[in-house]
């Protein structure tokens, strides 16, 4: 038994740090590997088992953005800059639309009292429980009827139109804002609309940020829906489908490193947005959770 309190504390701290350190290394490893090997000079899938590349180069990033096809690949339709732009545009639009719709729905459910309020909330809950991919084929045929299949507009529609169903967290946040503020504003002559824009929104920065982040990330990671909607039209692909194409059997041996570079690049806009909004984010998640 160790008598000294100090020693005991140091020991237990050391043990905790070791465990955390090991977990951290395991967790960070894939990212480090991805970044290092996207910079590796010699091509191919793996450097015959080597963990650390011997020589570094930015060539793959340059090729990726210049759309240079590696020799012998015969690729004619792999154009990453276009995919990146597509995804960025879709992400921006669906981010704006879904953020607005989520916040407005939440506001309505939190502040307004109307007949079907409870029922609508229940229906939203139930609908939210169905896995999204069940309706994908139906969505595709609906879009086809509207002649929207194979367009970026269709993607924006799909990503943002159902967003209002995910109102729970932000409604929880709005519920924590005292109603007295609304009443005071009403006495001063503000309409419900003005209360939303001028009172509630400025006080809800954390949850706005949270909503913006989640809805911006969606289009970057979605694969199945985008694939169904875009079909064979490579010029409309998003990064997720495009990168998958790079490691399909057809292109794997020649495009592997560009794929690695592409995976790193995809993380950039998300990371930038995250860093910019990070300080509100943590606040947002916990604050909404109190009552949500």
């Amino acid at each position: 038994m160790i008598k000294s309190y100090k020693l005991r504390r140091h020991l237990s701290n050391a043990l905790i740090y070791i465990i955390l350190g090991v977990m951290c290394i395991i967790w960070v490893m894939p990212f480090v590997y991805l970044v290092l090997h996207s910079l590796r000079l010699d091509g191919g899938v793996i450097d015959n088992g080597a963990l650390l590349p011997k020589q570094f180069t930015f060539k793959h990033y340059i090729d990726l953005f210049a759309g240079n096809a590696p020799s012998g690949s015969g690729a004619a339709t792999l154009y990453f800059p276009q995919w990146f732009l597509n995804t960025f545009v879709v992400a921006c639009f669906s981010c704006v639309i879904s953020t607005l719709s989520v916040l407005m729905v939440s506001y309505a459910f939190s502040r307004l009292r109307f007949g079907a309020r409870k029922k609508l909330m229940n229906i939203a809950m139930i609908l939210g429980m169905f896995p999204g991919f069940m309706t994908m084929i139906a969505m595709y045929y609906l879009l086809k009827i509207m002649h929207l299949d194979g367009t970026l507009v269709a993607l924006v529609l799909c990503y943002s139109c159902g967003a209002g169903l995910g109102f729970q967290i932000s409604k929880g946040f709005f519920d924590t804002i005292p109603r007295a503020l609304d009443e005071a504003a009403t006495i001063d002559g503000a309409t419900k609309n003005q209360i939303f824009w001028k009172i509630i929104l400025p006080m809800s920065k954390p949850i706005v940020v949270y909503t913006v982040l989640t809805s911006f990330i969606g289009p970057w990671t979605d694969f199945i829906l985008a694939k169904i909607i875009m079909g064979d039209d490579t010029s409309k692909y998003t990064v997720a489908i495009g990168l998958q194409k790079m490691i399909s059997a057809e292109f794997r041996s020649s495009y592997f490193q560009q794929f690695m570079a592409g995976s790193v690049v995809v993380a950039v806009p998300i990371t930038l947005l995250f860093l910019k909004m990070q300080k509100y984010y943590v606040e947002g998640v916990t604050a909404g959770g109190v009552k949500g």
Binding site: I123, Y141, D149
Partner: protein
Amino acid sequence: MKKVLAILLAGMLTATAFAGCGGGGNNNSGSKAADGSQTESKGDASAAAAVDPSWPDASLFGDEDNITLKVWAPDKAVDLVKTQVEAFKSHYSDKKFASIEVVAQGENDAATLIVNDPEKAADVFGFPSDQLNKLKDAQVLTQVAPALAAQVQAMNAEKTVTAATFDGQLLAFPETNDNGYYLVFDNSVVTADDAKTLEGVLAACKKAGKSFIMDAGNGYYSCIFAFTGGAEIDGFEADGTTQKFKEYDEATVVKTLMAFAQLMKDYKGTFVSQDPANISTGFKNGKVGAGIDGTWNSQPDKEALGDKFGAAKLPTIKVGSEDKQIISLFGYKYIGVNSHTKFPRSAQILGYYLAGQECQEQRAKQIGWGPSNQEALKAVADDAILQAVAAQAENAVPQVNVAGTFWTSMGTLGSEMYKDGWNPADEAATKKLFEKTIANVRDE
């Protein structure tokens, strides 16, 4: 009461969502049936017309005019197919072609995309043989018109035709006979003589201090262990899902597996199980002497080695006193005609032309696709890769009707044998492993 209402409402909402889905499906099958009957009657009508080997008679177009078609070809072939389509248009210059669009679409995705929405998919498309069943079940393939079928059967390698024939109906035009793997080697390390036996290849690589790459943990490659021993797959049982095997002698299979495992052990460090995509890199940096690689990597492999590039059919392996030829899995590529096409006759003729001798020869020479057409194959007699591939095709099991359970089970067989702790001399353990593999493949 309120609760009941809420549930009812929710139910209605979901019901509408599903109705859309069901509606789409119904429409599809309706139009499918209509198209099917249309193409059948067309076949009968044109059966009498004579066929020129490369250019079908223009009368086969029937009354179709102002033709709009979409063709899918993989990236590598797009430019070539475009020129072939131009040649096609100018040959039938008295027909009016509104547009024949060639879209780049990898073959590995073809079936998925067509089944998702056959109406938007290409009218004429390339696909590998393992998608034949899926396409057939979804009824998106048009039967090759009898007028053209006889010619197709006569000109193409027999295995490629048989694989695409169901109930006496040929469902697609054979396009290549090369979807498989073969032996690639650095001929400064492995001589053509060494390349005849696996022992020779490994010994030569070991001597030069280079490795031999084969993806032993991937069922696509590792099935050669069981196939070489005689446990070849033979389509499905009557239930249509369980993998059937040809009759084999278990003792022989086990002996063969032991021979493979023994080689892996004897040449530890030389025999390396890795993704074949590493072979070309290994050739470039001089670490690899030989490997079993797919035809889709031929170009990078050849570029990496230049003059030193060597290709051969898979070698033999010594089992007991006998040199056994290694049997591989081999697929073909086909050109199919979408049954939802608005111009079924034109699509057939275009498919026939694109899969014909002239086009196969051009693809063989320009992008290295191994022809299924026997005349086209003769025209590339000096191409070492294509000849090696064609030779391997003779020693292979066709990649059609492969159960989903096949890949991982065979992969496990290979990776178990490659493992450090595996004892190649342990007959009982090998027998057990093999029996387990077969049971897993058959999902028993």
